[in-house]
Symmetry: C2
Subunit: 395 residues, 2 copies
């Protein structure tokens, strides 16, 4: 009598409300996960063999010239330097390859509409904007697959609308962590665990994305990524608890949550995707840790600001920096939005100070904090580029 | 309007059943946490200033001679080599200092009975047995404080009997993580966060224990510890979910949980407590990661076996390696216990093979895997030494 993987098909997983509306599906992704990609156990594909990393990928030079840069709209008063590069054609190529990977290698999002939502999420542009120093498309693909894997875990396991369940979240997230931090026990139970991972698309996606990452990261870089994903899942658990109880945390507690439930894993692989390594002892330096935290906090609060209108419109219980400030200071959401912009700006300035101080300590550290800066500015541009469709510049 | 720290006093935290029975309190600690130390918000002491690490501690040579070694009873057929050293007097000294720290520095367990339970837990003997290569008592104290801090987080935030709550666990654990992985945002909210940490004894304990640890660990070692505590809290969330739903996981899923919800953070600081450093790039080596996982899995399953009778007697929903095997194989608990012993032994043998292979790669790696071995054998002796009081050798 084996219990199936929690959160899949062992019990009715009924969504909290009705099934996801078409308008929600069409509205595109939200938050850190895409959340637009419904879990459809009946359509669950069989596991497929995973080929070796894409050593045959064409070099960047072989790609078509970038198309016209899409118009972007910034939030008034939001401080963030411009992104270093943009490249629509490269982003499209990455999106195509992501669909191919999802379809042929990991069986993620088998429904055609959902596959379109995957493209609509535009992870391609995100990694192109955020990793201008990537030596080639293989490196960008490694970042993009991990991003999609993280979103899949969020969609399948944390979102009530799409099969996630508050009282099961903790149990499924630890299985998800094992997809990138392998189980070691006896041959029999290691085999059962491997079969368990292969039986779910989100788990397969994380396992496969990590396999590709191993090909270009050192063991220490891979271990760093595991740590930041463990942090992310701690953050999912914290946010999920508050949402379940409709509890709005204090601003400081929210900022603690957001430092973990954040883009941090995307930022800290900047050196792996850039084709070099910040050695682990330098990464662990308290000053570097502070720079990492400040840049990922700024990037994540940027998401809070651009996505506020959409979250407010969803009708679900929601909290983000503007709403927790409004609750704590008993002010209007418009006023809180301005205060959140100021908090964001202060964090960016503190990051820039920290980065400047670190840049004179060591050339590798300098390169790494430049990478953090690139990610923060690229992420801002990605959000600003989605204003009018997914995002907005005011509450 | 500031929300108080979740899981403390903002709402009735009513225990699931009645208040903890005297017999349970007297039965001593259980599981990885002591779980015998009731949360008493009314008795919450004021924060006290934290002195600098105990640079004035006497050297080991100044301590009294060890007393007679207590009799220990082993589980029949359980394979584990003997511990390297024991020292009752040193263990007692550490317990005394832990009480002093709890009382004077962090205000942990203010109730006298609970303070006695802290001594009864005998963290002193645990660190003496598990870290035979520690250069002095300051190093042992660093390990002991962290152990008590981890137990305090488990007791206060995860145990329903003592104030923990399933729907709040995720939110409080991330605040607990911030006690060892600091928040970085703006001066105003960093100050609020610091005040939040100082307002709760479990959070103060972890913060203080980490401050002492910083004094003897490198930044990379401290960062490694953060990672393993993040893993531990992921494990607490996973176990808590299953307990709330009274769901017995498959054996492989249980073993995945147990690799995170484990003694791992205690084992991986073996080099810090031993006064040396296994560099982060060697620690991240997949072979070393496997050795860490196998040795901590064996150590944690050892706890499952020795504590089974107590858990079964508690009447609470409980699962551990014997019970998940009994459920999956539909066999008696006695038969499952034997099978769990075999799983334990196989894991120990696989660890020893892995350790032998690693020992020829690098002298530091050899020393580190010896440290893992020391921890595993010391932990076994600690459990065997508590047979007849807290633990038992059969279901």
């Amino acid at each position: 009598m084996k219990a199936p993987i929690p959160g899949t098909t062992d019990e009715p997983t009924g969504p909290v409300g009705s099934s996801p509306s078409l308008s929600r599906l069409l509205s595109g992704p939200t938050g850190l996960g895409t959340k637009s990609l419904r879990f459809t156990p009946a359509m669950e594909p069989e596991p497929v063999p995973v080929p070796a990393p894409d050593a045959q990928s064409p070099p960047l030079a072989a790609l078509p010239e970038p198309g016209p840069r899409p118009a972007s709209q910034r939030i008034e008063g939001l401080y963030c330097p411009p992104a270093v590069r943009d490249d629509r054609a490269l982003a499209d190529e990455i999106n195509d390859r992501l669909v191919q990977w999802a379809e042929q290698e990991v069986g993620l999002y088998p429904d055609t509409d959902l596959r379109e939502a995957l493209v609509g999420f535009d992870a391609g542009r995100s990694v192109v904007l955020c990793h201008p120093d990537a030596p080639g498309i293989d490196h960008l693909m490694a970042a993009a697959r991990l991003l999609i894997g993280e979103n899949a875990v969020d969609d399948y396991f944390c979102e009530a609308e799409y099969g996630g369940s508050a009282d099961r979240r903790g149990a499924v997230l630890i299985v998800a962590q094992s997809a990138i931090d392998p189980a070691h026990n006896t041959p029999r139970y290691e085999a059962d665990w491997r079969a368990g991972i292969e039986a779910h698309p989100a788990l397969r996606s994380m396992r496969s994305a990590m396999d590709y990452f191993y090909a270009l990261a050192t063991p220490a870089q891979a271990h760093r990524f595991r740590h930041d994903i463990a942090n992310l899942y701690l953050g999912y658990n914290a946010e999920g608890d508050c949402i379940s109880r409709q509890r709005t945390p204090a601003v400081w507690e929210y900022l603690v949550q957001r430092q973990f439930n954040s883009f941090r894993p995307c930022l800290t692989l900047t050196d792996s995707i850039g084709g070099y390594e910040l050695p682990a002892q330098l990464f662990a330096d308290p000053g570097v840790q502070r720079a990492v935290a400040l840049s990922s906090n700024a990037s994540t609060i940027c998401n809070d600001l651009y996505s506020l209108r959409k979250e407010q419109a969803s009708g679900r219980f929601h909290y983000s920096l503007p709403t927790v400030i409004a609750a704590e200071e008993e002010c209007s959401i418009e006023e809180a939005f301005q205060k959140a912009v100021e908090v964001h700006n202060e964090i960016v300035h503190r990051f820039e100070e920290q980065a400047a101080a670190l840049s004179v300590t060591n050339p590798l550290t300098a390169r790494f904090v430049t990478g953090l800066h690139n990610w923060m500015t690229g992420n801002h541009e990605w959000h600003a580029g989605n204003v009018g469709t997914r995002y907005a510049t005011s509450p």
